[in-house]
Amino acid sequence: MSMIDVRKLSLDLGEGVRRRQILNDISLSVEAGDSFGLVGESGSGKSTVLRCIAGLYRHWTGEISIDGQTFASADRMGWCRKVQMVFQDPYGSLHPKHKIDTILSEPLRIHGFKDIDRRVSQILTQVGLGPRFRYRFPHQLSGGQRQRVAIARALILEPKILLLDEPTSALDVSIQAEILNLFSDLREQLDLTYLLVSHDLAVIDHMCSNLAVMRSGSVVESLSREQMVHGGATERYTNTLLRASEKYDRELVDELAAAS
C-alpha cells in the first residue's frame, strides 16, 4: 500500500474572469519510506500539489489519501500529525517575534503533549542545533540554522511524511549539501517518506528514487532515478529539461521558449 496516493487532483484558483486552472488531473503515488521528486519549471504547479496534500488548499477535486486514509474522512488534527511541510524560504517561515523555544513548543501545546521540555531539546539535537539555540530569535540565526529550525518544527509532531518545498534553493551551496545530508539521515532514523519539490535536478538525483515531471499543471512523465540517469525518459519535454540542467545552451533556451 502506498503512503501518499493522489488521484485526479485538479484545482482552480481565482474568481470570475481571472479564474485559472492550476492543477489538471494530477495522479501520483509514493511508497512508504520512499523519497519522491517533483520537478518542473516555475509555475508548473509543483508547490501547489504539496499545499493541497498538506491541506492548505481545500477546494480541490479528486482524491488524496495518506496511509490508506482519505483527506475527506480524516480529522484535521490527525492529518497534522501525519503530514508536515518544510518551506522554501527559511527567512519567511519562522515567526520573527517567537523564540526558537516558542516555535517548537507551540505545536506540542496544540496537540496536548506533556513532556514539552524534553522533546524540544531532543529535536534540536536531532537536527544538529545545540540547546544553546533554544532561546534565540530567528533573526539571530543564519539561513542554514533557520532551515534546521524549520525542519525541527516539521518533525516535532513525529509525522510520517515530510513535504519539502524546495528546501535548499534559498541556501548557498555548501549549506545545501549539509541540509540534504541531514534529510537523508533523518529519513533513515525516523522512517520518513519524502515528497520533494525542486527545480534542481542534481538535488532530485541526490535524494530521490522516483520522480515525476510536471508542466503547466499536469504530470508529463513519471520515471525512476535510473531511467532519468540512463536516458530512459520518453517524453520530449523531459529530455529538454534534462539537457537544460547539464549546461547552458542558446538553442535549448530558444526551443523551450518556442514550446511554451
Binding site: 499545499r51 498538506a54 491541506g55 492548505l56 484535521r76 488534527m77 497534522c80 503530514v83 508536515q84 511541510m85 518551506f87 522554501q88 524560504d89 519567511g92 517561515s93 519562522l94 515567526h95 520573527p96 517575534k97 523564540k99 523555544d101 507551540e106 505545536p107 496544540i110 496537540h111 544553546r132 533554544r134 532561546y135 534565540r136 530569535f137 533573526h139 524549520a150 518544527r153 516539521a154 509532531l157
Partner: protein
C-alpha cells in the same frame, strides 16, 4: 532551572552575551538592545522627558500648583507673569500656572481614555477583517468607512446637542472617529502577515483561527498600532483642545487648556499670556508625543529591529 551558574558574568555581559540560557535572559537582552537604540535618539528622549514631566505634574498637581486653580480674585485680574503668578492671571484673577498644572490631568485623562477605547476596538476589527477576508472583510470595512466619513468636530457637536456638552461626551466623540485609521492599519498589517509561510506552518500544525490571531498576528500588529496611537495622541490633544475652544469639551470652570485658550482670546492684544501659556502647553505636549512616537517606531517596529 533559571539560575545562572556562570556567576563571574557581569550584568552587562549577561545582557549582551551570545550564550543565552533561558527565556528570561532572551527577553532582557531584547529590551536592552532596544533601549540602547532608543537612548541614542535625542529627539525621542526629549519627547519622553516631556511626557514624564507631564505625568509627574498631573500626579502631584496639588503639590506643584501655587494657587487654587478655581479661586477667583477680581482685584488681581489680568496680571502679567511675576513672582507671585509665574504665568500671570486670567480675566477672573485665577492663577494661570496652577490652572495649567491641573489642566494636565484633564489632558491626560482624555488621551488615555481615547487610546484605551480606540486601540482594542481598532485592532479587533482590523485583524478580524484582514485575516478572514471575503464577506467579513467587506462588511467590517464598510462600517469602518462610515465611521471614517464622520468629521469628528461635527460629530462632537451632534453629541453635545444630544447628550449635553462635557468631557465624557467629547471623549466618546473623539474615540468614535479615531478608531477607523487604527482598524485600517491593523487590517493592512494582517493581510501582509496572513499569506506568510509561518502562518501556513501554524495552520499545518493544527492551530485554529483564534490562536493564530492571538499568538501570531497580534504580536506583529501591536508595535505599529502602538506607534500609530502614540502619534495619534497629539491629534487627540488638539481635537480635545479644539472642542474645549468651541465650548463642547470640559465645561468652565474646569481648567482645560483648549477652553483656557478660548476664554483668553478676547484679551489677546493687551494680555498675551492668557492665550500664550495654555497654547504653549498644548504645543509642547503634542510635539512631545510626536517625537516620542517616532522614536518608539524605531524601537518597536520589527522591520527596524536588530
Amino acid at each position: 532551572m533559571t539560575v545562572d551558574t556562570r556567576q563571574n558574568l557581569t550584568l552587562r555581559q549577561w545582557m549582551t552575551t551570545e550564550e543565552v540560557t533561558n527565556g528570561r535572559q532572551a527577553f532582557v537582552q531584547k529590551v536592552y538592545w532596544g533601549a540602547v537604540g532608543f537612548l541614542q535618539n535625542p529627539l525621542a528622549l526629549i519627547g519622553l522627558a516631556v511626557i514624564v514631566v507631564l505625568l509627574l505634574v498631573a500626579a502631584f498637581a496639588p503639590l506643584i500648583a501655587t494657587h487654587d486653580p478655581l479661586a477667583q480674585d477680581l482685584g488681581a485680574a489680568l496680571q502679567p507673569p511675576s513672582a507671585a503668578h509665574y504665568f500671570g492671571t486670567d480675566e477672573l484673577g485665577r492663577d494661570i500656572f496652577s490652572r495649567i498644572v491641573f489642566g494636565s490631568r484633564i489632558t491626560l485623562y482624555i488621551v488615555m481614555l481615547v487610546s484605551v477605547i480606540v486601540g482594542p476596538i481598532g485592532m479587533a476589527v482590523g485583524m478580524t477583517a484582514g485575516y478572514f477576508g471575503g464577506w467579513t472583510d467587506k462588511v467590517l470595512m464598510r462600517v469602518t468607512d462610515i465611521f471614517l466619513s464622520f468629521p469628528s468636530l461635527v460629530l462632537a457637536l451632534a453629541f453635545a446637542a444630544a447628550l449635553g456638552p462635557g468631557l465624557e461626551n467629547a471623549v466618546i466623540a473623539i474615540a468614535l472617529t479615531a478608531w477607523p485609521p487604527i482598524a485600517r492599519l491593523a487590517r493592512a498589517e494582517t493581510m501582509t502577515i496572513r499569506s506568510s509561510d509561518f502562518i501556513a506552518a501554524a495552520t499545518l500544525q493544527g492551530a485554529g483561527s483564534i490562536r493564530i490571531l492571538r499568538h501570531y498576528i497580534f504580536p506583529l500588529c501591536l508595535p505599529s498600532v502602538i506607534v500609530r496611537i502614540t502619534l495619534n495622541m497629539a491629534g487627540i490633544i488638539l481635537t480635545a483642545a479644539g472642542l474645549g475652544f468651541l465650548g463642547l469639551g470640559a465645561q468652565p470652570p474646569a481648567p482645560e487648556w483648549g477652553a483656557m485658550t478660548s476664554a483668553g482670546r478676547r484679551f489677546m492684544l493687551d494680555s498675551w499670556w492668557v492665550v500664550t501659556m495654555p497654547g504653549s502647553a498644548i504645543l509642547i505636549v503634542s510635539l512631545a508625543f510626536n517625537l516620542f512616537g517616532d522614536g518608539l517606531r524605531d524601537f518597536l517596529d520589527p522591520r527596524h529591529g536588530r
